[in-house]
Symmetry: C2
Subunit: 346 residues, 2 copies
């Protein structure tokens, strides 16, 4: 499928910006001459690179990550190794890889990355799954693992259950035997959405209205949630937190409603609830290519190989049509639609 060409230098097409603004205005396709990789560097050919909401916000200058200009967009991808620096030990030409680090600028046909920024992807892992692993699936994995000890039979509750992360949370909970209750906004096609998410592995899907009134926890149909994952904020996070048991933890990783998280005083004092946040970018900056990071990648690769952890709904758009791609991303309401993936494979 991929054509490998060994050569001493390479002319890359790069989606680059030198000022903050709307992506369609500030992103320009440029050519960049890449020299042969030295030392611990590798030359890779990018295959797929998603456009995530945080990438858009970074380009708009609304994200706390402030790149140096000129900057290349994108934070994740799947790529193939084309050429090795002389000190590279753990990769071979032809290997499929993905970046563990963030801020590498992945919207480009070719890139020079360092050995310790990459991890090898087993051949059996589908490429679109691999391309969408390092932001959303890693976020879902860490949030389930790092805040509360969840055993099979415990319960997790999340809003935005139909978001890309939400769908990964559902699949991982199913794999680990964790009851998971998802909250979504009401909509005309709510029945189809519920069916889709339940097939993915959701124990129960509730609309925001139903979340307010549900008695599944009070009546003991499910144990009270130990962990709540919040990407909405405002009243919805408040309603969700009311279901949490003693010492429940709510982890916020997004704020689609643009309203602050509302925390009842009594829940903090008498139920010992804790409210924390998670940011994959910080985790990666702190953990790098640690044993923990490798263990996570290995687990996720295995789940994807087995077909238990799938890519979100997506559309592949050739990178030359990047303006169209941005338009498709920005026309989505929140995380509702298909993930747009720039296709560099041709």
């Amino acid at each position: 499928m991929l054509i490998l060409r060994r050569r001493m230098s390479c002319l890359a097409s790069v989606l680059r910006y030198s000022d903050y603004g709307e992506p369609a205005n500030v992103i320009k396709m440029c050519k960049e001459q890449l020299e042969a990789p030295k030392d611990d560097n590798l030359l890779v050919k990018i295959v797929y690179a998603p456009i995530n909401p945080a990438d858009i916000n970074t380009i708009q200058g609304k994200y706390p990550v402030k790149p140096e200009f000129p900057a290349v967009g994108g934070n994740e991808c799947v790529a193939q190794v084309m050429e090795l620096g002389s000190n590279v030990k753990s990769f071979s030409v032809g290997d499929i890889v993905l970046p563990l680090a963030t801020g590498l600028g992945t919207w480009r046909t070719h890139a020079i990355y360092k050995e310790n920024e990459l991890i090898k992807v087993p051949k059996e892992v589908p490429l679109v799954e691999a391309a969408t692993m390092s932001v959303n699936k890693c976020t879902a994995y860490r949030m389930i693992k790092d805040f509360v000890e969840l055993k099979a039979g415990d319960t997790l509750i999340q809003n935005g259950a139909n978001s890309a992360v939400g769908q990964d949370v559902i699949q991982l909970c199913k794999i680990w035997g964790i009851n998971n209750v998802g909250i979504v906004r009401d909509r005309p096609e709510i029945d189809q959405l519920k069916e889709y998410l339940k097939e993915l592995g959701a124990t129960e899907i509730l609309t925001e209205e139903q979340c307010r009134a549900t008695k599944i926890f009070k009546e003991g149909k499910l144990p009270k949630p130990k962990l709540a994952l919040n990407c909405v904020g405002g009243k919805n996070s408040l309603e969700m937190s009311k279901h949490m048991g003693q010492r429940g933890v709510m982890v916020t990783y997004g704020g689609m409603s643009r309203e602050p998280v509302l925390v009842p005083t009594s829940a903090l004092i008498f139920k010992d609830h804790e409210f924390k946040g998670f940011w994959m970018t910080r985790w990666k900056a702190e953990k790098g290519k640690s044993d923990e990071a490798i263990k996570m990648a290995t687990d996720l690769f295995n789940f994807m190989k087995d077909g238990k952890l799938k890519a979100p709904k997506h559309e592949l758009i050739p990178y030359e049509n990047y303006k169209q791609a941005f338009e498709n991303v920005l026309s989505l309401k929140g995380f509702a639609g298909a993930k747009v993936i720039l296709d560099f494979s041709k």
Copy 2:
């Protein structure tokens, strides 16, 4: 000052209630015959017992602690040992003691308590200080110690700085060399209040308005707070949290505004702020007479002996006038006035 009478039984006056309601309506003064203490029990004569807001809420049925009826009001006191059960090893008749446990019902002239519910108060500790130690001063101590590692030169910020706990926080911070910034509501006598709290040890006292605009943290006059203590909630807690540095923790122990704590999504995700609660009642139930509890009491006793940790403003009211005492407590707006302490010493 106290008259000790050894006797085999004792007729106690007890402020008791058998139904939830307004304290002045449901609390009745009753007589109760106490038998001589057996085994690990002690007979004590109560000297002083404060009326705390939580005591009122418990009697009103608005508190999560639900006593068995008939119940005796009150959760803290200072008392003198009158008679020992045969197995009591660590106390002598005449010792001054206070309860480490909660829910013992302290509004009574005499009580039978267990050895492991009490701790001995050194003779040099003033009795009013001792009587008001186990709720407010212990709350202040634990909140400063248990959530963030604060070193001398670090900064803590708190609202309700003029509350009883707030004043204890100020004094403890001064003892430990921790910068402490207090927020209070604006009021006609704001200058006197600021002066009073600064004399107590506050580094800076700001009105809510001033808190919003202050640049003392941005301009580096003080390091950004690592810990925020919240007993107000609503917008005030939001404004306070904005000053916290990376990984700052806000601990909520009250909600005077009766509004939920507002937590900005971006602070959770990008600044890694954490929002937790503290409830002294739970801490005591879990820790009992542990080494930690004894270490805390010893520290506080030493500070009180040295005159570095004072009782809050208070008024002593003879226990027979308990209806007047409740009236005085309930006429206070929040924690603004003097703490009412029932006086059983006569």
